[in-house]
Symmetry: C2
Subunit: 142 residues, 2 copies
Amino acid sequence: MAASKEIEEGAAFTPKYDADGLITAVVTDATSGELLMVAHMNADALAKTIESGEAWYFSRSRQRLWKKGEESGNVQRVKELRVDCDQDALWLKVDQAGGAACHTGRRSCFYRAVKLGKGGAATLEFRDADKAFDPKSVYRDR
Amino acid sequence: MAASKEIEEGAAFTPKYDADGLITAVVTDATSGELLMVAHMNADALAKTIESGEAWYFSRSRQRLWKKGEESGNVQRVKELRVDCDQDALWLKVDQAGGAACHTGRRSCFYRAVKLGKGGAATLEFRDADKAFDPKSVYRDR
């Protein structure tokens, strides 16, 4: 097979990292299918995730490896890990401990919608934005 | 509010682009909730998407703006657009024309699963990999 064909139709897992050595990870709830968050992995985070069955990521802001839930306890047990056609994005279906993935205390990080069809400055509308926990009581530095 | 608090809890839409001027876009089926694809938008693609209600992206490989479905006809009508807590990822819930988002002809780009808990070279297993169309009959250059 040609290289691109092998990547798309082959059975070899050859994740394609970007210039910073990262790959995008989309995380959904394994039961409800709801989109919880988007994060990034480096090769080390991906290896730890595959080995342990729990989600590890690489924090771009803190420039370090982190295990999801290491501070909050809200770990993610990975039920299924998929890769996309060109192998530059991952999909994790997880059991979310604590019922909330977002550090703001919400179930999903995607709790605001952008108004469509408007010109000019777009505004956001809160949706499904109830908090499952109080971040102040969970994180030391917030 | 402090800057980070304003980004996370405010109603102003201030998308945060990366060093290449791109933001990650996660695309799910508005009806089934299924993850269809991950793509990227620049500011122009995002503006066109908001104005038209149809999904536009920026192709990193071709380095150009593209309207999803411009060649295949499989356009995406955006039912809802959300942004995440730190405003560096977007979520599009779409009605997918033609029933398939992936250029390989499949409904979703995520048609292969990585075996978990294994050391060494990981292999992929095809799942939900039936093709909805034959890419050879849809794209000129494949």
